[in-house]
Subunit: 192 residues, 2 copies
DNA sequence: GTTGATATAGACAGACCTGTCTGATAATGT
DNA sequence: ACATTATCAGACAGGTCTGTCTATATCAAC
């Protein structure tokens, strides 16, 4: 969910700059709206170098999505040791933090989904992988919290997650953190 | 939310066919991914005729969004007389019906938002209008139902609405109707 | 019959798209 | 010293995009 591009080691500096520039532009303007020429110009990389690192634009898009997945998993892992309920709340608190950053434009995975209709496309597969991981994460935390129906409640929490990320983008987001706490605690209060 | 294109009178048959074809293609494949040439071919309309009805492609996109708005309002109006709570549930039941239609690809408004980053764009303005109408509708129904906090609860219901439309598209949607009923009744059970 | 509105097919311009290729330059390891 | 690897700038091909334009055809009203 975070779209920070920074500080991840990579095979080469040029590749790192390409992925950073692509991340910034894809997220800010949409994938189809950004051409290769602008990415290589922003990354100060020659076109031939780009195509030596990424066989096609779609490979770059897939790398972008996979890195967002990696960043999301890393951010959760870096939350530190917390009891299940507090961990759940801390995960959802990240929504408010992200939405108040300048340039916030919703969830990169959902935005990409809107531009990739074919569910068998590798980009969509990478997005599905990310969502499967997140769903399992929530199920585990709800079960560890002694929740009576972790499977169903995890599904609803994901519905809230997606909807809150949208709300922070397209609606007035001044009360998003309060709204998030309210919605999640309402949901957790049911079923123990 | 419904993407049915049908049966709305229009100024001219050619314009009607253009809007129907554009609706079908924009929704199925995304807006940037569909060119004018394909729309006029699908509508059996000459290019000059297209540009006499729509000064630019963006005007066609705005007409597409405004018609989806009109269809949504019409569908709600056609629900007939129902008590507030049943009306709310009936509105949300439409999600399951829509998501099980072949070719369902999520919410046309949110998909368009992902492709239009500039919030001052007329397309985005039309989407904002639609969302404002829907928010007011939910607030009124919650207030009429004697709910203790209709403003906040309407915000959460919109979060659920957006999230459920996404879930029906990108996740397994076999239990979407049950999930919707569960999430909405859970939410309505709090605050009277 | 004549006029005016609306439609047709399709060429065209200018921009942008992805992806390939050439040929030169710099850094690195042995 | 030499080979390898990565990089550079940029031309180029072939396609698609939006939007304009020409020239013709249909049809209704008067």
């Amino acid at each position: 969910m975070n779209v920070v591009t920074s500080h991840r080691p990579d095979r080469s500096p040029a590749r790192r700059r390409l992925l950073d520039t692509a991340t910034r532009l894809f997220y800010a303007e949409g994938i189809h709206a950004v051409g290769i020429d602008r990415i290589i110009a922003g990354a100060c990389v020659a076109k031939a170098t780009f195509y030596s690192h990424f066989p096609s634009k779609d490979d770059l898009v897939r790398a972008y999505i996979e890195e967002q997945d990696w960043l999301g998993r890393t951010a959760i892992a870096e939350l530190g040791q917390l009891p299940p309920r507090e961990r759940l709340l801390a995960i959802f608190d990240r929504i408010g933090e992200a939405a108040h950053q300048p340039g916030y434009r919703g969830c990169p995975f959902l935005n990409a989904t809107a531009e990739y209709p074919d569910p068998t496309n590798p980009v969509r597969q990478a997005i599905d992988d990310h969502r499967r991981w997140f769903r399992e994460l929530l199920r585990g935390l709800l079960a560890a919290n002694g929740h009576s129906d972790p499977v169903r409640t995890a599904d609803i929490l994901i519905v809230l997650w997606d909807g809150l990320l949208i709300s922070g983008h397209v609606d007035d987001s001044t009360e998003l953190s309060v709204l998030t706490r309210d919605a999640v605690t309402r949901m957790l209060s049911i079923g123990r």
